[in-house]
């Protein structure tokens, strides 16, 4: 550098810097990630589903981001999601009550009655759709439903976020979990992540499936056999024993016979508008069914025995004997697992 004037030195440095910037910029441009690659969650790879038998046991644990789960847990229990700060997700899907509220239909803000029975939040992550009519493809999508439903939380997202953002703890958690301020996507994601952690593994039936042959008692085993023989398993299959297809309620009978039909009773028809989809509902999961009374979308069925009886009649055209029903119920009871992921 000796012998160069100040100006020449500056010019040389500038040139080199400019060239470096140009090259760097070009390299970055060249190697920048293709649009749309980022931000799309990868679905569960096929490899994890190796067991193709009709039913599988629940996985014992789910690996989730702890920060997101914590934020989701708080939000799940946060009444500020509702317009009058009285109703939270947990109001209808209490994590210490097997994810239900035990009511026929849930009560929203100002004690308004909902349209349908609250499905359990446990194992909901294994359902292929959410809501009875399957209108939410993912748990994230489902979060907005109750928030904006006038008879449930009756709120709006701006309103909710305004309240939530004022909470410094939530903001801090959001920053930790998502690296940004709390927003709608973060709320949805957090709650969904939390929900995915709500599983009930190690039910007697699962233990039985895993090889613990004496996990089921005689009646339950019998019930399991009857379940398959009678063809219940045709629709209530998969890891969740249900929750993976739509079926018409009353394939061989009329459930609604005589009474006034509400909008909610139309089921999938509300989504597709096709006649064939009238009275089609997502087949509910039978796990923990012994703890999630009342049953059916309208919550009109109070006991398992009644449910079993009705299902056999409506879907299979059968009149089951009490003894038969008892074994089936015994089997159904064996589907109750240990709630996990609800505590802090």
């Amino acid at each position: 550098m000796a012998g160069l004037t100040m100006r020449a030195r500056g010019a040389l440095i500038l040139t080199l810097a400019g060239a470096a910037a140009g090259v760097g910029g070009a390299w970055w441009w060249y190697h920048r990630p293709a649009a749309g690659e980022a931000g799309v969650p990868e679905p569960v790879p096929v490899a994890t589903i190796v067991d193709l038998s009709p039913v599988q046991p629940l996985p014992r644990s789910v690996s989730l981001d702890a920060n997101q789960v914590e934020l989701g847990r708080r939000l799940f229990h946060d009444v500020r999601l509702s317009s009058d700060d009285t109703v939270s997700c947990a109001s209808c899907h209490a994590v210490d009550q097997y994810g239900v509220d035990g009511r026929r239909v849930s009560l929203g803000v100002r004690g308004q009655a909902g349209a349908v029975n609250a499905p359990t939040v446990y194992n909901s992550g294994f359902n292929f759709r959410q809501f009875w009519d399957g209108r939410a493809a993912t748990l994230e999508d489902q979060v907005g439903g109750p928030v904006e439903n006038p008879v449930e939380m009756a709120s709006h997202w701006p309103q909710v976020l305004a309240k939530l953002r004022a909470d410094a703890t939530l903001q801090e958690l959001a920053r930790r979990a998502y690296g940004r301020e709390l927003d709608e996507a973060a709320v949805r994601s957090a709650i969904a992540t939390f929900e995915r952690g709500l599983i009930t593994p190690d039910s007697p039936f699962d233990r039985y499936l895993r090889g613990e042959l004496d996990a089921l008692d005689g009646p339950a085993k019998q019930g399991w056999q009857r379940f398959r023989d009678l063809g219940c398993i045709a629709c209530h299959q998969g890891v969740n024993l249900g929750g993976n297809m739509y079926a018409t309620l009353g394939a061989m009978g009329d459930y609604f016979g005589g009474r006034v039909v509400s909008q909610a009773d139309y089921g999938l028809y509300n989504q597709t508008g096709r006649e064939a989809d009238r009275y089609k509902f997502k087949v509910p999961s039978l796990r923990n069914v012994a703890e999630t009374a009342p049953y059916f979308h309208d919550g009109r069925i109070g006991t398992l025995d009644e449910a079993v009886q009705l299902m056999a009649k409506l879907q299979l055209g059968l009149d089951l004997e009490a003894a038969d029903r008892a074994t089936l119920v015994a089997f159904l009871r064996s589907l109750t697992g240990t709630p996990r992921g609800g505590g802090s």
Binding site: G25, G36, E37, V46, I49, L52, P54, V239, M245
Partner: protein, 841 residues
Amino acid sequence: MTVTRRFRRYRVWLGWAIGLGLLVMLALLSSQRDGSLRAMQAQVPILLNQENAMKVAVVRLRYGLDSNYDLLNHYFQVIDGHLRVLVSQADGQDAATEVDEYGRIVRREIDLGESFKYQNAVVRNSLRYLQSESVRVVDAVPRDRAGRALHRALNQLANTVVLMSLGNDASLHAEAEAALAEVDALRAGLDERTRATTERLMRHVHLLVETLPQLDRTTRNLLDSGSRRKLEAIDAHLRQVYDAESRRAGFYRVILVFLATGLFVAFAVLAARYLDNVRQVAGQRRFLQSLTDNVGVGVVVAGGDDRLTFANPHAETLLGYETGGLAGVHLHDSVHVGKDGERVLCQDCRAMATTLQGRSFVGEVHFRRRDGAVIPVLLHAATFNDGDRQAVVLAFQDMSEIHEARRQLERLAYYDALTGLPNRTLLQDRVDQALAQARRQEKAVAFFMLDLDNFKGVNDSLGHAVGDELLCQVALRIRASLRETDTSARLGGDEFAVLIPDAISAEDAARLAGKLIRAIGQPYHLSGYDLVCGVSIGITFFPEDAANCDQLMRNADAAMFRAKESGTNRFQFYTEDMGAGAMERLQLESHLRHALARGELAVHFQPQCRADGSVAGAEALLRWNSPRFGMVPPVRFIPIAERSGLIVEIGEWVLREACRQGQRWRNGPAPEFRVAVNLSVAQFRQADLVARVADILAETGFPATALELEITESMLMEEVQSSLETLASLKALGCMLAIDDFGTGYSSLAYLKRFELDVLKIDKSFVDGLGNDGNDSAVVHAIVGMARSLGLAMVAEGVESHDQYDELVAFGGEDILLQGYLLGYPMPADELDHRLASPTG
């Protein structure tokens, strides 16, 4: 600076920047925008795979190989996920349309999938129940004819339905319908209870007949969804785009390579040139540095604020500053000063004014050294452009030495080197000035011309060193005799001049002349020699005697000549008649030089007679018959001859001629003939006089005793010692010595005795008075008496009358010889021949 100028200055950088910009642009252009393309292309095989897997799952589920819909759902979920990715990637691309179409296919597939799942479940269940119910019905329905018909019909129906379940066929469906109708008809004929038994079976059959075709349709539609074709089309499209993109990128890449190479070469060239330039500049700088360091003048540069921005080592040395000491020094505060060291303001500085007007300044100014000394310098100052400012470069030289040299030169030019007196040039200048002033003020100016007597003799006998010393002493004495305002000068040789620029009277001039003569006449003691020196002074006055310097000097010269002719240590005022004389004298001199060679000179003889009138001998007298001047009297040309030194040669010739003639006469009519020859001062002072005389005597054969050498009193009185020696030598030869002009000068009687003279010549002035003046008679008488008693012979000069003759004879008798017009005029030798031939006459 104007925009164009600035552009030109930076055009290289501008070009570079443009080149670089192009480079970056091309780099961007040549990068394949295939990120999204590749991402999209990556989705296609995944989707194909998943579609396949999904369809396989459908088939497996259809045929009861699997009964778990989770996997099918999973495939749909994956497909949907990748579709979303594909859609977002395809957004804005030209493959978007096809991707949208594929999206529609997928949505349809999912829809069909839902239908499939339910229809499949129903069918599977109902098929199962078909079997179990068939068994029950067989047991329940009686085997009567109606019953059997029913069985048959049911069998038929069941088989048809089972067949239907294996593969859809339009005809089968029709058959099934027909069979169903038949069965329904037959059932009508049954009893209540039996009919009730078949109720469930029929419901399942109805369900199957209804659902099976649906399921088949759903399955076929699902399997033939066209997803593969669409995906492959997308892939082909993407590939096409990719290729086009590749080609485009490749094209730009080629250009990029060229441009990059070009830029690189340009850069290399520029760098090389730049380095060259740098080296050159460094070399130039070294050269300039060396130059400014070694140039023999001081160089400083002053900026617009009058402060020095640059000084070379010579400048620092000249001005007495240490290295770097001149930086920032204020030019007019510290350096440029007036002649006496006073401050010169910048705005008053003529040099700066000239320079700033765009002209260069050359001139003498004064600089002040750091120690306060003021030195004269020759300054050259000029402006130049230093970047975009104006600066002044000053180159200066110390003039002190030159001034000193100049002074010395002046001194040499105007002053005599030996004596330090003004020389002729300066004298003339001063005379001119004095005359001018005198004219203006109507005053007079006096001018003395001094000529040392017998100086040449000193030079010849004692050497030039002594002569020079004598001149210096003379100069000192002259100066000492004058006032400050008077100018004394040495004109050359032994000539001096004095200028009295004030009016003085003739008396004062005479007094001064006398003073000078006395001063110069004092004995000198030089290098061990004692000598005296005489001087002749000519005096002229302005305006009486001359109108200008030249005339003044010439006339003074003439007057001086006259003084010299009159004798030594005399002064003479200029008179009119001398004027012409000077010029004439010059002419005479020049003619005289050649007179001898041309034979214009002649030796005349004036007889010296005894009392009885017989010729005893003759005095040889030089006569000059110049064609130009005619007969030039000796009194005129002898002094000239003596002044010019011609007398030596002429004297020798005279001597030789006289001896020759004398010998002729001795060999002829007068065996006792004697010749008297005058010796000039110059001859007397000659070192080899005696030798020459001896040569001539030898040559002519004339006896020394017959030769009488006449010398004057004054000759003897000067340089007594050498005179004695010479006389002694001549006496030794045998010559007779006669003293001329006896009694007229400052002679001392004692000297007479000392000099061993033989003959005494009584001066004409005394002879003239004889017969008239009693005093003169007494003097002559006395002289005769003295001579007689001393044993000297006598010769009386200028005898022109009988009275004089008578008296002289009365006094001297036989011992005195008589010479004069009465006895005979000087005559040529042949005339004397005649005279000698006739003894009386």
